[in-house]
Amino acid sequence: MPRTTYNKIAAIATGLVLGASVMLPAAHADDYYAGQTIRMIIPFSPGGGTDTFGRLISQHLGRHIPGSPTIVSENVTGAGGLLGSNEFAERVDHDGLTLMTASGHLNLRAFLGLQGLRLDLDALEPVVAAPMGHVTAISTQAGIDDPADLLEAQGRLTKGITDPVGLLESLVALEMFELNYRAVPGYGGRGDTRIAFERGELMINTQSTPAYLNSVQPLVDEGMAMPLYAIGFIDGEGNPQRDPAVPDMITAPELYEQIHGEMPSGTIWEAFKVTVPLVQNTRGTVWVHGDIPDEAMAALQAGVEAMVNDPEFQEASANILEGYEIMWGDDLGQIKASMDAASPEVLDYLRDMLNERFGTEFN
């Protein structure tokens, strides 16, 4: 079969040329990480969604970075992620040997400048990230059977609050509809709000899309609840995008348009457009300090590229990413772009809302 042999040789030759072109700039980087150990700070307890993502990356990234460093993940827990984040922000060398996995909500806390948190996202560079959508549902006790009737919902519209900053995307959506809801803080986690929702204690409930599909969808099927909207995503031009895990579900801005006949506007819409990409695009973000040596940055980026193309990683990550695509390379620009797009008025609006309703303090 001479023809296939020829093809093979061609393929190998192309591979060699491509390989050489990748390896040339990476030659320095190869030296940089050879024999090194990278420490991955995970500021949350083991077992959570962000921890799982951080550990997935720790497991696979090392062998793809030129020089094959070992990555060791370490849970530095405490104060809702503040202790680990502050350690990363202030007490490690900027040599690319320390990474941190943050959750979308931790990013948001840093972005809003939560009191006690000394992480400055502007000084950091995202290495790789994973998205996660959210869905809001309402109990049938509210007496509506169409999301478009949302504003006619009856009764005490209780919404369980775990941590107000952590739920900001769902709160901003409710504010956007100007719904008169009653916030009940004190829930331990979104799972607890899910039980309280089934119990009838809470009327409105927001879950991550995979959790919604697994544990709220059965309630919908039993006729106890109705999905209102997916928070959805925001594309580069600021337009709403469907949640890829529930493409048939209407998004919050689309529902607004359906009710009011026009898209939302003003400060609240700007706030929504800033909050959503920060939280939803980043179920987990691996950060590194922005001023690490160039060869270290190049090696990390080359490592991520090789990792996402590795079938072994793709197989291992399929379960963990739960229907979403990993974000890397140029896509990560969105995270910073949405932060840069936030005007001071929007920031003040968000801080004031959290401060007035929940007493959250900012730096």
Binding site: G47, D51, G116, G186, G191, L202, N319, F358
Partner: protein, 508 residues
């Protein structure tokens, strides 16, 4: 369903999965024996190895750890008066006095037998209840949970012995210490200043180790000699213990069931289970004079409940995906690594896995008990070794256990601080368990009270569940006051007859 039940047993018999289960048990015993380290720590250790394992093997490993810890944590509680993990604090009350009397092997034998039966009842309850647990869990809303914290606080009277006022004071101090850190229902940090370490509040492990471990070590060193005061051979004491437990079989069953039920209520925290059970057994026994001085029933009750609770905490974990304890949060994470979403649909989609978990729980309890029984004789000998030989090792273990919490220097500072507080309390005859209970329940009581009010205004007070639990708490307090009057004179007479010195020191 029966099909899946049998099928799961065959799945678990695979040699690799059995090996994993066994490794889990071994790790669980190791972290259980070391004070301050518990199931959470053991599970965190193995988490990185789960990637690439099949779900059954991984679950067997994790359940092996979770099931073996509450058996093995009895060792330090009984032998040294140091809580081996947060689930075995109440075992100290009577287990440690038994060890001081030279009956360590008997106490351990009774504890392990109770643990085994409790664990099996927990597994049985879990498999029986899997189809019906949802109504139970759904019945407890925020108002009911608040009333349960009050019920928990009402056992303080029992734990204070004949010093109710000092007990109340200690409990109030515990409630106050529990308010340090982030408030449960508001974005506000109390008594924390700019000290981020305090934002999460103080850690239960550090408070418990400080209160119970350090004072014991200091006093034993000051006294000299071995932990056991009477140089009596171990003999066949452990068989006596096994017989003790079998004789009290109804007690074992009752407290296992209580352990399962409390464990199944998410949001109660499993660290209170041993205390509640100790309170109940001390309250409902006819002859209560020996409690706190080495009554074997005071070991049997918390130990059966302690192992049975694992069956309970698995219910909300598997049925709702809501972790019943912090170690279960880790199990949830592991299930997600395997692509299994816990929740109601697990009963249809992953029924095999549910039953593998139940079988693992049962088998791990059997393995764990036998290993612990085998270890109990050599380990119990430690109580006859002059204490100054073992003290350095124990001090190191306690310090490492505390340091594991956040690896912040303040871990050690607070360990020392609570050690000093515990020592002062011990010296001044102020009971320490009420402080710990106040500390555990402080945040929960505040949280559920505010949530109840936010959800229902004052209407929550009239809910049937609230009224029932409230009546129970009142009954418990009234009964304890009345029983105390009857027994206190008797108890004092017995105390006077005993060597007063032992009595004073063995009382926690």
């Amino acid at each position: 369903m029966l099909d899946a039940f049998v099928n799961a047993f065959w799945i678990l018999l695979d040699p690799f999965r059995l090996l994993m289960l066994f490794s889990g048990v071994a790790i669980g015993i190791a972290v259980g024996i070391l004070p301050g380290l518990g199931g959470l720590m053991g599970m965190a250790l193995v988490l990185p190895f789960l990637f690439g394992m099949d779900a059954y093997a991984g679950v067997a490993l994790l359940i092996g750890i979770a099931a073996a810890v509450p058996s093995a944590d009895t060792f330090p509680s009984v032998l040294m008066g140091i809580p081996g993990s947060s689930g075995s604090q109440a075992t100290i009350m009577d287990g440690y006095p038994m060890a001081r009397r030279g009956e360590a092997a008997r106490a351990l034998g009774a504890a392990f037998t109770a643990s085994l039966i409790g664990g099996l009842i927990g597994a049985l309850a879990l498999s029986a209840v899997v189809p019906f647990a949802r109504p139970l869990i759904l019945a407890f809303g925020s108002p009911e949970l608040f009333m349960l914290t009050l019920l928990g606080l009402s056992i303080i009277g029992v734990l204070s012995g004949n010093r109710p006022l000092k007990g109340m004071l200690a409990a109030v101090a515990g409630l106050a210490i529990g308010t340090v850190g982030g408030a449960p229902v508001a974005a506000e940090y109390r008594f924390a200043g700019d000290f981020l370490y305090l934002y999460d509040g103080l850690s239960l492990v550090i408070v418990a180790l400080g209160l119970f471990a350090l004072p014991e070590i200091v006093d034993l060193l000051a006294r000299g000699g071995a932990i056991a005061e009477r140089a009596r051979g171990l003999g066949h004491g452990w068989m006596d213990g096994v017989r003790d437990t079998l004789r009290h079989k109804w007690l074992v069953i009752r407290h296992s069931v209580i352990g399962v039920v409390i464990g199944a209520i998410p949001g109660m925290g499993s660290s209170i289970i041993d205390w509640v059970n100790y309170g109940i057994v001390a309250q409902t026994s006819k002859d209560r004079s020996r409690f706190g001085k080495g009554d074997v029933r005071g070991v049997i009750a918390p130990e059966s409940a302690n192992n049975a609770k694992e069956g309970g905490v698995l219910m909300p974990t598997l049925l709702f995906g809501v972790p019943g304890s912090s170690a279960m949060a880790m199990l949830l994470g592991a299930l997600m690594i395997f692509g299994v979403q816990p929740g109601p649909q697990m009963l249809t989609r992953d029924l095999d896995l549910v039953f593998v978990i139940i079988w693992s729980l049962a088998l791990a309890n059997v393995f764990g008990t036998f290993i612990c029984l085998l270890l109990s004789r050599p380990i119990a000998r430690l109580t006859f070794v002059p204490f100054h030989y073992i003290a350095p090792v124990i001090i190191v273990i306690v310090i490492v256990g505390a340091w594991q919490e956040t690896r912040h220097w303040a871990d050690l500072a607070f360990l020392l601080g609570f050690g000093l507080l515990g020592w002062l309390m011990k010296r001044s005859g102020m009971p320490r368990p009420p402080l710990l209970i106040g500390f555990i329940l402080s945040g929960l009581a505040e949280r559920y009270l505010w949530m109840s009010y936010n959800l229902y205004d004052w209407e929550w007070l009239t809910r049937p569940g609230v009224l029932t639990i409230g009546a129970l708490a009142v009954a418990l307090i009234v009964a304890s006051v009345r029983l105390k009057r009857n027994t206190s004179q008797r108890a004092e007479a017995i105390q006077a007859a005993e060597r007063p010195e032992i009595d004073k020191e063995s009382r926690p």
